[in-house]
């Protein structure tokens, strides 16, 4: 009996989704085009269950490369409207289309200049009439036997949000690597579980000079490799020291002219170093504690194997916090 009831609920919701798929039309394509052409964000708003679904849609859009945020209609009327700009697209979620708080908000949003898209089950509702684009997410019936609790309708709304996110993924040529970029916690975790040998720079891109090198040449080497430092390496490969931008700044402050010097006078001898097998997490800890951004990598007896920059561990060369 119970199992049968549960199965019926699933069937009702599935039927609702199938009908929804059949009704997707040109409006959906217009919605996608509006979002893709907008330079701002997708502002999602809804009340009650629609609000909860709206938050999930925001999360999905953000993780798939479409900047989005949730705006509570009541909070919006008390100051949060300030976050909406004319470059944004406004996504209003309401099954009935008669949610008073949301309908009060829509004219103001239109005044700001946003495109308003309604995801509603009633295409003749107040919300639908006030919107630029209307997406029909109506279902024939709710799974609730009383027809009161939103069930199939919220499932349809959720599915429509997923459909929107997936279509946007394809339109924006969003890749798996991009998904990782938007999950820095996971991405960083992966990086930190590896060894510094996986990230270190080797070969010609490692800035290095020999002991006795004039400072003018040292500065050229620092400038060439753009790491803010150069390593001082003995002819037999042993690391002798490091010269950083900070060393040069301090020398200039305390001694004045630097061009008459050789690297031995300016360098920090015997800098901290780690082996290529050192976990990236330990290297990051060391760099953070010592407030350094460049870490020489040596073999067990101190011969140079490479250099690690803080950005190489954090992956900042490919990660951008603004999501663009």
């Amino acid at each position: 009996m119970v199992a049968q009831q549960a199965a019926d609920v699933i069937k009702i919701e599935a039927e609702g989704l199938l009908r929804l798929a059949e009704r997707i039309d040109e409006s959906f394509a217009r919605m996608v085009a509006a979002i893709c052409s907008a330079s701002g964000r997708v502002i999602v708003a809804g009340i009650g269950k629609s609000g909860l679904v709206g938050r999930k849609i925001v999360a999905t859009l953000n993780s798939t490369g479409t900047r989005s945020l949730f705006l509570h209609p009541v909070e919006a009327m008390h100051g949060d409207l300030g976050i909406v700009s004319r470059d944004d697209v406004f996504l209003a979620l309401s099954n009935s289309g008669e949610t008073e708080e949301l309908n009060m908000l829509v004219p103001i949003i239109r005044d700001i200049g946003c495109t308003v898209i309604a995801l509603t089950g009633k295409t003749g509702s107040t919300l639908a009439k006030a919107s630029d684009i209307v997406i029909d997410v109506g279902v024939a019936r709710e799974a609730c036997p009383l027809g009161l609790a939103p069930t199939a309708s919220t499932t349809a709304l959720l599915a429509m949000g997923d459909a929107l996110a997936v279509v946007l993924i394809n339109r924006k040529n969003f890749k798996t690597s991009d998904f990782r970029k938007f999950h820095p916690g996971g991405s960083l975790g992966q990086r930190l579980s590896r060894c510094v040998g996986d990230f270190m720079l080797t070969g010609a891109v490692v800035p290095q000079v020999a002991p006795g090198t004039p400072m003018a040449e040292v500065l050229r080497e620092i400038d060439r490799c753009r790491l803010g430092a150069t390593l001082v390496v003995q002819p037999d490969g042993f690391l002798a020291g490091i010269v950083t931008d900070g060393d040069i700044r301090r020398w200039l402050l305390h001694h004045g002219d630097i061009f008459g010097e050789v690297v031995d006078a300016v360098m920090t001898p015997h800098p901290r170093s780690v082996s290529p097998e050192t976990p990236a997490f330990d290297a990051l800890n060391l760099m953070e504690h010592c407030q350094i951004t460049v870490l020489p990598i040596t073999n067990p007896i101190g011969k140079l194997r490479g250099v690690l920059h803080l950005h190489d561990i954090l992956g900042k060369g490919e990660f951008k916090f603004n999501g663009r």
Binding site: P276, E277, T278, P279, D282, H289, N299
Partner: protein, 319 residues
């Protein structure tokens, strides 16, 4: 002997090999390079050790030259442990006096500790009295070393190769004795600890690297391998002695420590049959010293050993 005896250094004690030229002279350049290589990581330097420094095969003049050179190169940055053991008690006493004069010539030399292997030239009988007299003649404290395998070839059958526990207890009643470098079995180590439990500020070192890697002594280790791998030995020593508090940000990862321990075991195995000679060869191969010339016979480098050495150097990217 000074009124207030300094405490012996704890941690990693590096027994420096003695770099020689092919002619048998002291190779000063290599020595300076070696000290520069190890000094940052070691907590103290042991000069002219009988095992790693070949002191038993060096002339007294060369040992003094070595001491003067180490003193100059180390620049007082780390405590110096100086082996004074001679073939006879009189040799030991004479070397100690000459070395003290050398070290104090330019003023206070900082932390200096005499290291002595008493059973090389003395029996257990009368040893407490001998140390009372010796300690009265110097301002520096003593660290005694118990090394049965070093003593074995020098003793006749039936003679004791270890310091008797009761004798050690009497020696250690002298405040000038501040530490023990121990090689031997665990049972004897425990007996020594029990005998000295009432003694404050007494430091136990492992004189056997393998022993330290298996069950570390409370005071540290005299590790010949630290001539080659001082950074690795430092990390393992600090971890073994639970010195993590001061080094927390740099505490090595457990996996790294495990791999380091395996590496140190492998190095120890390469230096088992002729420690100083084999270690010098390795140091020469990687470019830390210029020559592998040794004062001791150099017949321990057979083709199998050479193959093992190359495999070790390649496996750990040391070349």
């Amino acid at each position: 002997m000074a009124a207030e005896t300094p405490q012996a250094p704890r941690g990693l004690i590096c027994p420096l090999v003695t770099p020689l030229t092919p002619r048998g002279d002291l190779d000063l350049t290599s020595l300076q390079r070696l000290i520069g290589h190890v000094q940052r990581f070691a907590d103290a330097l042991l000069v002219g050790d009988l095992v790693w420094g070949e002191a038993g095969a060096l002339s007294e003049a060369l040992r003094l030259d070595l001491l003067a050179a180490v003193r100059d190169a180390a620049e007082g940055q780390k405590p110096l442990l100086v082996t004074v053991t001679g073939r006879q008690p009189t040799d030991t006493r004479r070397f100690m006096h000459t070395a003290e004069a050398l070290l104090t010539r330019g003023g206070d030399p900082g932390g200096v500790f005499w290291v002595d292997y008493p059973l090389v030239y003395h029996s257990n009988r009368g040893l407490p009295q001998f140390y009372r007299e010796l300690a009265a003649e110097t301002r520096f404290p003593f660290i005694v070393a118990n090394h049965p395998s070093l003593v074995q070839p020098l003793k006749g059958p039936g003679r004791l190769k270890n310091i008797r526990t009761g004798v050690l207890k009497k020696i250690a009643a002298n405040p000038a004795l501040v530490g023990l470098i121990f090689v031997g079995d665990l049972k004897r180590a425990l007996n020594y600890h029990l005998a000295l439990r009432g003694r404050d500020l007494f430091t136990f070192y492992d004189g056997d690297e393998r022993g330290f890697l298996k069950s570390p002594a409370s005071g540290g280790v005299v590790a010949g391998g630290s001539n080659l791998l001082p950074r690795v030995w430092q990390a393992v020593t600090r971890s073994s002695l639970n010195w993590l508090e001061e080094d927390r940000p740099f505490a090595a990862h457990p996996t790294t420590l495990l791999e380091s321990g395996i590496m140190l075991h492998a190095l120890g195995a390469l230096c088992r049959t002729a420690p100083a000679v084999q270690l010098k060869t390795i140091l020469q191969r990687v470019g830390i010293i210029a020559s592998d010339a040794a004062a001791l016979p150099a017949d321990a480098r057979d083709p199998v050993w050479e193959a093992d050495l190359m495999a070790f150097l390649r496996a750990y990217d040391i070349l």
